[in-house]
Symmetry: C2
């Protein structure tokens, strides 16, 4: 019987999506004994934002978190999200850094590496995949899902085949924006499953309220598993509730076999934990189906709304929302995900506020059009390219081919502040932040940002409907 495999994102994407990635290790460890007994396929525990938040706000060593979780979860596979050649940082790294990073992550306990490139330029994830395989770990190639005239079923299937060819142990469809519908998921998964020999997983945010139905259809069409978030950190910009998905498949041929009563205990645990982080709750994390109409991810809209507010131009939002698809088309239809979402979004804001389109062009768009992020799947507008970079040469090779080895240089730069290769990599990911962190540690001055006191309990307990029908 093909038991469905469930990855709970509670320790990474769920709190990243709902409370700005602020959950602390001290709130994870007490529940690990139970999490470890649930029977998950994996727990997602690491990614760019968790690494960043650890160093920036929580003053935790992210590597130490990984080691602690590894120890506390001896029976469960740990999973991370890796941005290919970007690793967990915001630029392309030299291959030696990528190799070192993956090897260190594997060594510290990571089992499954979900690897993606924001452009779906698979050259940018080749070295990561190779190194994961060399480390004897599970390499999962992720396809960023998006919609556009060129993002056909065939294109996605071709990406899946390429990932398989590159040695991936599985493929994930990564729907960061909640664009998938159940029907499209069924077609996409079915096509991938019939063309691939490796298992297919789905990752879809519940932003538009469709992800649970998408997962259901995915499994019916041959998907091996999908991502969830424990109920108290589920829904909206996070993931469908683990308990519900487990209940949905109970007593069917796809039964996950996970322990539902135990999951319910985990859910109640995190419900209490969430209260501790109330200052990070946002009105932008709830259910919002607008992405299904305008194809602009909710996370982007909230960023744009802040950007516009700062410039006193919130009333121009609709124009920006109309400009985004145009910019995206001119840039060759990149999927909208970090960092392409910012690249497209900021340029769209400039195009609207500047009065004339591309009167000002961001550096990121220039780099993008120089090919420094990789190659877009669609055609780049020659006019826009010319406006941005004139006759400058465009990089045709894999961007990292132009980056000489840099581990040695990084080691030297950070010097004795780094006590380990992991420290060097922390510095590599976030040069300023990482150095500050290591310096603070050296000085014994790692002070996490303060948490506001809990809200006065205004729960009443007497207002539930007394009648239900």
């Amino acid at each position: 019987m093909p038991k469905v495999k469930i990855t709970d994102t509670i320790l990474r994407d769920a709190h990243q999506s709902l409370i700005a990635t602020r959950m602390r290790t001290e709130d994870m460890l007490p529940i690990c004994e139970k999490l470890d007994r649930v029977g998950y396929w994996s727990l997602e525990v690491w990614g760019g934002a968790t690494f960043d938040a650890c160093v920036r706000f929580l003053k935790e060593d992210p590597w130490e978190r990984l080691r602690q979780l590894r120890k506390a979860l001896p029976n469960t596979q740990l999973q991370m999200l890796l941005r290919g050649q970007n690793l967990l940082g915001y630029r392309h790294y030299a291959d030696d850094v990528v190799r070192e990073f993956v090897a260190r992550a594997a060594d510290n306990g990571m089992d499954i590496f979900r690897i993606f490139d924001a452009m779906n330029d698979l050259r940018n994830i080749r070295v990561s995949i190779e190194t994961v395989k060399q480390s004897g770990k599970h390499a999962q190639g992720a396809i960023c899902y998006t919609t556009s005239p060129i993002h056909t079923l065939d294109r996605f299937v071709q990406l899946g085949k390429d990932l398989q060819e590159m040695g991936c142990d599985s493929v994930a469809i990564k729907d960061m924006a909640g664009l998938l519908t159940p029907n499209v998921t069924a077609q996409l998964v079915s096509a991938l499953v019939s063309e691939l020999e490796i298992p297919v997983f789905t990752h879809s945010h519940a932003t538009a309220g469709l992800a649970d139905m998408c997962h259901y259809k995915a499994v019916e069409n041959g998907a091996a598993g999908f991502d969830t978030a424990i109920s108290s950190f589920s829904g909206g910009t996070s993931h469908p509730p683990t308990e519900s998905m487990v209940a949905a498949f109970r007593d069917t041929e796809y039964d996950s076999g996970l322990d539902l009563p135990l999951l319910q205990e985990v859910g109640f645990y995190f419900r209490e934990i969430r209260k501790k982080y109330h200052q990070f709750e946002s009105e932008f994390t709830g259910l919002d189906t607008r992405v299904q109409v305008n194809q602009v991810p909710g996370g982007m809209i909230s960023n744009l709304s802040n950007q516009l507010k700062e410039q006193g131009a919130l009333t121009r939002m609709n124009e920006v929302l109309e400009e985004i698809p145009r910019v995206r088309k001119e840039l060759g239809y990149p999927p909208l995900v970090t960092p392409t979402s910012q690249i497209v979004g900021s340029q769209a804001v400039m195009n609207v506020l500047g009065g004339k389109r591309y009167a000002t062009i961001t550096n990121e768009v220039k780099h993008y059009l120089q090919g420094r992020y990789g190659q877009a799947l669609g055609e780049i507008s020659p006019q826009v390219q010319h406006m941005a970079i004139g006759n400058e040469e465009v990089i045709k090779c894999r961007p990292a081919d132009l980056i000489p080895p840099e581990m040695e240089k990084l080691r030297k730069e950070i010097g004795p502040l780094a006590k380990s290769e992991e420290d060097v990599l922390t510095y590599a990911m976030f040069p300023e932040l990482g150095r500050d962190f290591l310096q603070q540690r050296e000085d014994g001055k790692l002070i996490p940002e303060p948490l506001e006191p809990p809200n006065v309990n205004n729960a009443n307990g007497h207002k539930a409907a007394t009648e239900f029908n």
Copy 2:
């Protein structure tokens, strides 16, 4: 193409489930113009709790609400939930009251009557169905869904056939507790659709987070439509979000055809409205999958928890949860819905707190065992029956057969306080409350319960995840 038919419960079940049925007509009317343009199959606007809340708390004439909604929604079918021979009250009424009530509701603008009996004793809904048909309106027979050894697929199909035979224009599966799973829904709907000629609808609460998947599978298996709630009043003990369900079926053969951007505007409208009622929010209305494990509806658990708290016995909750299935079995496996949920729940509490089972027996259980609510589908425990009512005779006929006509008596009792037949019926539904209401109206002293001032806006708008993947 079989367009899926959507009923939005925002004006009845959604606010009943989430804010104790407190939404006022003044907050409904301003959005009716938009609601009316959406293209719904129907809007559910009336039911027992709305009627009760109007009279008890809001000091609104529920009939006047109906007339106002009718006027404001000229292009949309209005739907109500009717408890068969109980109408919207808490006892069985004589047939002449049932006939008058249904006729008045039809006359005041009701189009679709969803009619159920808590015991699934169809004798209790016969007169309602007949009268709806005589009024030229749509009679929808509802089957209360529950699980038990005797609630087999065949039993449900038989109920559906009986409802068709009785003249129903459609059948609804009514899953008030969120017990359905997608797989069971598929089987149940498929069986009903293949055996019936009338359309099948589904009503399932999102309590366990499964209702959207259930509806999806229902439609795939031939259901004509289902119930939703606009996003800002969706989820948890309410219904799946309308916008999401519309998006789920867009561009498929089941496309609802509803206007999604317009629905999004409606959603934002009600998001603001909901803030006005914050004092009625409850911690018991969120997602909770426990019903999928212990089969006890969430609404019942919150009632029980209040009951136990008052008696300082909250620690006995688990015993009560284990006692409920036993009591339910001894009573012949009634579905747990108002009023059977209270009947079973209160007796279970007594059985646990009393030390000895059935040492004390509630009057409701006695009436139940006398057959005054109708006939259970399962076998009644003879021991329990004997303990409760000794050798008293058990009613075998339809309970209402023993009730003589009572409209005339009601008219006399309420006298000149009633200015219309509708007033008499308001009094009939809630003798004390209704009289008070009519008296207050007479005295010009209808004062709605006060609403607490809005919460200080602690939304921050800056905390959304800046990174999403």
